[in-house]
Amino acid sequence: MHKEKSDILGNLAQAVIDMDVTRASKAAAEAIISHIDPYEAITDGLARGMDVVSELFENEEYFVPEILLCADAMYAGIEVLKPHFPKEAASNKKKVVIGVVKGDTHDIGKNLVKIMLDNAGFEMHDLGRNVPYAKFIDTAGELNADLVCLSTLMTTTMDGMQVVIEDMKKAGIPARVMVGGGPISPGFARNIGADGYARNAAEAVKVAKSMFQGIQIPLAMKTPELVSIRKKLGGVQ
């Protein structure tokens, strides 16, 4: 006998909140067996769990180790679900290029933002750390990116953010830019011409979402209509 759908979705969410990789994979496998739409398993299961994690982080009940482990659980669940995605799934995700600017190798903050934005439905392209300025501009151009996220923990590399923003403008790249990191303040972000600033990873989601409000199509939309379209297309295994 299959478990109730709501139980499985609840388990997926709870496994993420509890930082439990094994339970997340198991619940994802159950979702497949029970013919739950893999997108739904993500949005109403894993991602819902991650939303709670984000709240716990904002309320300072969860810190960096917790988020990293919750993300591990989330990605473990996604790995199980991934082979069952319908092939023709078109992506309406906003494309985000993210990286730590040249001269700095501290990347935990950047990784947290990447996890949170990924969970919030953005398509993430991670350039890593110590990224040359031109790499941001080239990648944003190639991908036709919507948003470029620049991070640094060091005062010595702060000015590099301005170089990236100016060079992007010169190159005619229309992507917006969000900046953040230890030494960065809203005032500094404004001064260098960034479109957004976020204090932490949870705030980064709010800022990014507000940038695209009105035009953003949430990924993995799961209105009854779309769910039935997916079914017709054979999207549900």
Binding site: T155, T156, P183, F188
Partner: protein, 344 residues
């Protein structure tokens, strides 16, 4: 008073002419001899001489010897990357696998990593300016050292997944820190410790209690055995962990992104506070007027802290800080921090 007399008076609770004014001049000292940071921090003579020149130029109240928080880990085998003109950063952590713990041994300060560079710098400074000012080598504390040995992300996840390994690494790291403290004291320095990876935006108070505090206590007990004061610097947001910091046995807490009034209310009756003009918005990107306002704000909030107050920057003075901004900090500090403090 000389900076040394002033600091001694403060530590002994005697009358001083003013509060200590101590911008955290670390790699910034390299600017005084126009040295790129790499040649400053990899050569004891350069590191010492630049700090001597820097002191003669600014006469700040404490001379720090420092390049990065990962120097202890480096001495234990973590490979660093040395940018031409910036602080070294971790390239490859030593503990690539759990089993590598068997190869981990406490650092030998006489020969491992760049500890000999630090020690030479300390000795040169002690010889040249040690009569006037305390020479303070700054050492990564056990948790920060362990994170640099294992890779920070892996390490902090292991607080949950492999606490046994965390404690094993912490034990060896603590021994290293103590060895290096011994060597610094022998060289005539007054060692202080920094634990930025244990900042409140990184880990919870409960993890701080379990994994950080016992080892910090061991470190400060060791420093106290020499009759020296314990100084704990943690930058970033520390509101969540400052109560624990005050339990570590450290006599002075150097803090960054926390309101001084709040810090005073939380732990002012237990420890001396030190801080916290913004390094980025103040020292680096600010101007003399902004900095003077920030200095006055710090002193207004904390000069009456029951266990004392040291005017400092929240974290390292950025290497690109304009000369006039540092002068503004020192002048405003010396003016406003005269004792008894008169804020008008």
């Amino acid at each position: 008073m000389t900076p040394k007399e002033r600091m001694a008076a403060m530590l002994q609770g005697k009358a001083a002419d003013r509060l200590l004014v101590s911008p955290l001049i670390l790699n910034f000292a390299s600017r005084s001899l126009n040295l790129p940071v790499r040649s400053f921090c990899t050569n004891g003579k350069n590191m010492g001489d630049a700090n001597i020149a820097c002191f003669k130029k600014y006469r700040h109240d404490i001379v720090y010897i420092f390049s990065t928080t990962s120097t202890v880990a480096e001495a234990m085998g973590t490979r660093m990357y040395f940018p031409e003109d910036d602080a070294p950063q971790v390239e490859t952590p030593f503990l690539q696998t759990r089993e590598d713990i068997r190869k981990l041994t406490p650092a030998d300060p006489e020969k491992d990593g760049r500890i000999p560079v630090y020690l030479e710098a300390v000795k040169r400074c002690v010889d040249a300016i040690g009569d006037e000012v305390f020479i303070v080598p700054v050492i990564g504390a056990p948790f920060t050292t362990s994170a640099a040995l294992r890779g920070t992300e892996t390490f902090i996840k292991e607080l949950y997944t492999d606490p046994e390994l965390v404690h094993a690494v912490m034990k060896v790291a603590t021994q290293s820190v103590k060895n290096i403290i011994d060597a610094c004291v022998k060289a005539g320095g007054v060692p202080v410790t920094v634990e930025p990876i244990a900042t409140g935006s990184m880990i919870s108070e409960s993890h701080f209690r379990t994994f950080v505090l016992p080892y910090l206590k061991e470190v400060y007990a060791h420093i106290h055995s020499y009759g020296l004061p314990g100084v704990l610097h943690i930058c970033g947001k520390t509101k969540r962990v400052i109560a624990c910091m005050a339990e570590s046995g450290a006599d002075i807490l150097s803090i960054d992104a926390i309101d001084l009034q709040e810090a005073k209310a939380l732990v002012g009756d237990k420890v001396c506070l030190m801080g916290n003009v913004s390094p980025a918005d103040g020292m680096f990107k600010g101007n003399p007027e902004i900095i003077a306002t920030m200095v006055k704000d710090c002193i207004t909030k904390a000069a009456d802290s029951p266990k004392g107050f040291v005017l400092a920057t929240g974290c390292e003075v950025p290497i690109k800080t304009p000369h006039e901004n540092l002068i503004a900090f020192l002048e405003a500090g010396r003016r406003v921090a005269r004792l008894p403090v008169n804020l008008n």
